[in-house]
Symmetry: C2
Subunit: 314 residues, 2 copies
């Protein structure tokens, strides 16, 4: 009996309890024809943050790991970086010094490593990196550092005619290179931060060139802006894990009818990481207070998840 | 026999001939399973310009008519406009003088009339206008000034599992207010020009406020940029009518495998308007040359369309 149940339960990696119940309850309300809260498939929009919500974000955002690796590759063409911060710190593997440079250091590195290629070239560079580089702590490919319970949640929503979008502070083109294969979320349902691109007619045809200038920051107040810009509808469900998702959750909640607001709370120092109010990466403070005050769903990773990463099932 | 044929022909308003054949031929290539050019539904992306491609754009863009009407409504709160160009000309119904102000006058009016509301308020304003105001020449609602053959083409593509997007220089939120009902194209498949929006927490909850600052111009080189930003895939089919669509057609053509590039050529002074190389609104010059050189499909409105507007069938 137990095996049968596990094999047919779409949320098999979630422990039974109020968190799992809240998901089932919400989906059932929305999909029950003739019910007071029924909504047709085209209204079933669900938005997910990525870093810390669908995959890990420690010791720092994986896209930053990509950027730091790119600094080393590109340094051959930039001898001046050996004496120029924040690149010097990166080339000397002095991550602490690099991070001491704060958001400016991070932005400098992101822009220097994400521009001056065509969109096609950039996609190939990301694909190459993401299929070969491994996480410093687990030794796993970064795409293995995704949360099994959240993969199941995505599939469960897809099976119930939800369209799932990623709404992430991460780079839109960094994510589009791999998320369809890993999450089953197609490129047109990925919203993220971006730099400007420019159409250019070359001898072999037109290209889009990525230029070193911020176009859009899809974080905090930017998330509802991005949702409105790209989707033009308000989501029914939003899932995040940090204060960067706070406004997206508020925007979702403010719609009429059934809404689901969820937070992944990183409480599992053993299987993943435990952090919230004091963390630089993925700080969860104000959104946690509001979630508790308003009875949003807060996933306690340690208690609610039978399994964290897919490989634990191996 | 004739009646039967018309009633089952998805492109009944298109005359038989090479233009109609080119559409049928392309769709058949893409959808024939086992064929060399078969592509699965998720790849079947089709992009359409709006002004002059799906609905008329004369005597000037309909969104500009909306903006000019808004100047009059808003002038009660702006007594200074009575002495200030370009508003003065608009308030005096001196369209010629207004248009003499060129793109700057148009932008000034667009920004003054499209900002300082929430996104919800703006949608209501557009809905109210589009369901009540009528075209100065035909006396029809603007939403009746759509091309019956293009409505049939959209339906034909939908029936063959294409996802159709609007990629227009027009305002994204102006279009989203009405295009789903008229074209069957949902808000998340509308790409257009935009002003910035800003998240704001008010007493009654969060709103997005439209602020008077250009965010994105989805025209000319901006169209491939917008396609890449919003869709992240290259279209298989692109339809436009002016040089503003040229780069979108080039970008579409540069993909591998079957592609369809189409232009609506306004050749029917009797039923619609006739204009191309010398028109300020909807100039078609360079794109027409390239279309002819490369054997793209050029719709001769007068010869290829049995019917132009839906009401001709009444």
């Amino acid at each position: 009996m137990r095996i049968q149940k596990a094999s047919t339960d779409p949320l098999a990696s979630w422990h039974e309890g109020p968190t799992k119940d809240s998901i089932h309850h919400f989906v059932t309300r929305v999909k029950t024809q003739g019910g007071a809260d029924y909504l047709p498939p085209f209204e079933r929009i669900a938005v997910f943050d990525n870093d810390g919500t669908l995959w890990s974000e420690k010791p720092y955002y994986f896209q930053l790991a990509f950027a730091l690796d790119r600094v080393k590759v590109l340094s051959a063409d930039h001898p001046e970086w050996r004496e120029q911060q924040p690149f010097k710190a990166v080339l000397e593997d002095n991550i602490e010094e690099f991070l001491a440079g704060g958001m400016k250091a991070i932005l400098d590195v992101l822009i220097a490593t994400h521009a001056d290629t065509t969109t096609n070239e950039f996609e190939a560079i990301v694909c190459d990196w993401i299929t070969s580089r491994r996480h410093p702590k687990t030794g796993r490919l970064y795409t293995e550092m995704v949360y099994q319970p959240m993969l199941e949640l995505l599939r469960y929503l897809h099976a119930n005619d939800f369209r799932t979008y990623i709404v992430s502070g991460g780079g839109i083109e960094f994510m589009r290179a791999w998320v369809e294969e890993i999450y089953g979320i197609p490129p047109e349902q990925v919203i993220g931060s971006s730099i400007e691109t420019k159409f250019e007619m070359r001898d072999r045809g037109p290209v889009l060139v990525r230029i070193p200038q911020i176009d859009f920051v899809d974080d905090n107040e930017g998330k509802p802006v991005g949702i409105n810009k790209f989707i033009g509808r308000r989501p029914l469900l939003a899932f995040g894990n940090s204060d960067g998702d706070h406004q997206m959750l508020q925007w979702t909640e403010a719609g009429e009818g059934p809404r689901f607001m969820g937070l992944v709370h990183h409480t599992d120092a053993e299987r993943e990481w435990a952090y919230d109010r004091d963390s630089l990466v993925g700080r969860l403070d104000k959104a946690l207070d509001e979630a508790r005050a308003k009875d949003w769903t807060v996933v306690d990773m340690r208690r609610d998840w039978r399994v964290v990463f897919p490989w634990e099932n191996e």
